[in-house]
Amino acid sequence: MRGLVAIAVLLTVLTGCGSGGAEKKELTVFAAASLTETFTALGARFEAARPGVKVTFNFGSSATLAQQIGKGAPADVFAAASPATMKQVSDKARVFARNRLEIAVPKGNPARVAGLADLARPEVTVALCAPQVPCGAAAAKVLQGLKVTPVTLEQDVKATLTKVTLGEVDAALVYRTDVRAAAGKVEGVEFAESARAVNDYPIVALTGGLADDFVSLVLSEQGRGVLTAAGFEGAAG
């Protein structure tokens, strides 16, 4: 008999979670890993302005997030690091920020990397994002014509940056915002060719109400302020 009770409890726990949606006070935002700092800050502002509302984030690679949403993950807002990835989820997205690549080097720049061409020097170890993820696609675009042999192709931009932070590689191509966020641990080297592959960040509200409000906040003057402070460029339109 006690076993029966245990099973009943277990089944209640397993099935019960989904059925209690009385008033929606929680907002779930799926966002590209490169938005971790800015969106966390914006989420705190959003919560402060609306007492009782809880914003939860799922940060990760845009492609992974898009697939999770495609498979039914409960996202209210989706912000991706690439329009192509966003297309898998929605056509109604709006570009809210742009990001460009920068070379991240360990403090002191031991390999004296001054520009993109230095990455092709054989003694310079380089980490890149895998071509399957947006930062890797952007890297491939700016490196066209240069013979750069990376030691690793990382699964996301944060993992790529970590290899620089730990001093395991001499240089990595990451977003300018990532270099800015890791200031003090890495140094950034800007290069003119980065204009060749500027990444657009689109955002979409997948549900109404709070989700629309959050998107409005991101698109607002206030949102733009947070984003540009982190190194993003404002969207043209």
């Binding site: 697939q67 030691v151 690793t152 192709l153 990382e154 699964q155 730990l166 395991e168």
Partner: protein, 259 residues
């Protein structure tokens, strides 16, 4: 053989548990793109990742055998202070998130790591981003499986055979080689198989410590993860291959050696 009829309060949760473990695997089979499967499997990147996985897992197992069997012997047979602590430390990689293991390996064997910086300066050897780094990451995560199995076998082994050999004049090393090892062989093989299977599936420590580069450090689990970014069907195919290899090895060897 007594076959007691188990009470249903045990059978029901047992079946639920079984379903919980097996259903996700069945899901892989159900979703697999069977028509394009052969073509996808024959792709050079897949074969390269599979070959690298098999080679590194085997080398990692060899490394674990060389270091792990003596370690297990120490834990089972030697009396020393702090043995409980040592045993706990040995099993830490079992519960440690593999990514943490990878970071720890970087801090020690990385280019600027405690040991790695000297390896780099003295011998010009750098382990991260190499196949050797993959072996190291896999061995770190898999060795506890071997040590636990072998230690268990050693504890269960009858000490009287070893004592008899000693009284007949055999040296300690001879006793270990000629008596102890054959006595615990099934335990060693079982541990090695578990160790190999764990090494084959290793992901977190590998991608953190060894990075991801096709042909050099991109093992099957890494290939699965990256395939998921662009081509989920390819990821399913790769997962099926890993699953098939793991099940085949675990099933064939476990039946024969453990029991």
């Amino acid at each position: 053989m007594r076959s007691a009829r188990p009470p249903w309060v045990l059978v029901v949760p047992a079946l639920l548990g079984l379903a919980f473990l097996v259903l996700p695997l069945a899901g892989l089979l159900a979703e697999a793109p069977w028509s394009t499967l052969p073509a996808r499997l024959a792709r050079p990147q897949v074969l390269e990742a599979l070959r690298l996985s098999l080679v590194t897992a085997t080398l990692a197992t060899a490394l674990c055998l060389v270091l792990g069997v003596p370690l297990a012997w120490l834990l089972a047979r030697a009396e020393f202070r702090g043995r409980a602590v040592v045993r706990a430390l040995v099993t830490v990689p079992l519960v440690l998130p593999p990514v943490v293991g990878g970071v720890a390996l970087l801090l020690v064997f990385g280019r600027r790591g405690l040991v790695g910086q000297w390896l780099d300066q003295w011998f010009g050897v750098s382990l991260p981003f190499t196949s050797a780094g993959v072996v190291l990451a896999e061995a770190f995560v898999a060795m506890p499986f071997l040590v636990i199995s072998v230690e268990g076998a050693l504890r269960a082994a009858d000490l009287r055979y070893e004592e008899a050999a000693r009284t007949l004049g055999a040296s300690r090393l001879t006793v270990f080689r000629r008596v102890t090892l054959p006595l615990i062989a099934p335990g060693v093989v079982a541990g090695a198989v578990l160790c190999w299977a764990r090494a084959l599936g290793e992901f977190g420590a590998t991608i953190t410590f060894a990075g991801n580069f096709p042909g050099r450090t991109q093992t099957m689990p890494l290939a699965v993860y990256l395939a998921l970014e662009t081509d989920p069907e390819a990821a399913i195919v790769l997962s099926l291959v890993l699953l098939a290899v793991s099940v085949a090895v675990l099933a064939s060897l476990r039946e024969r050696w453990i029991s």
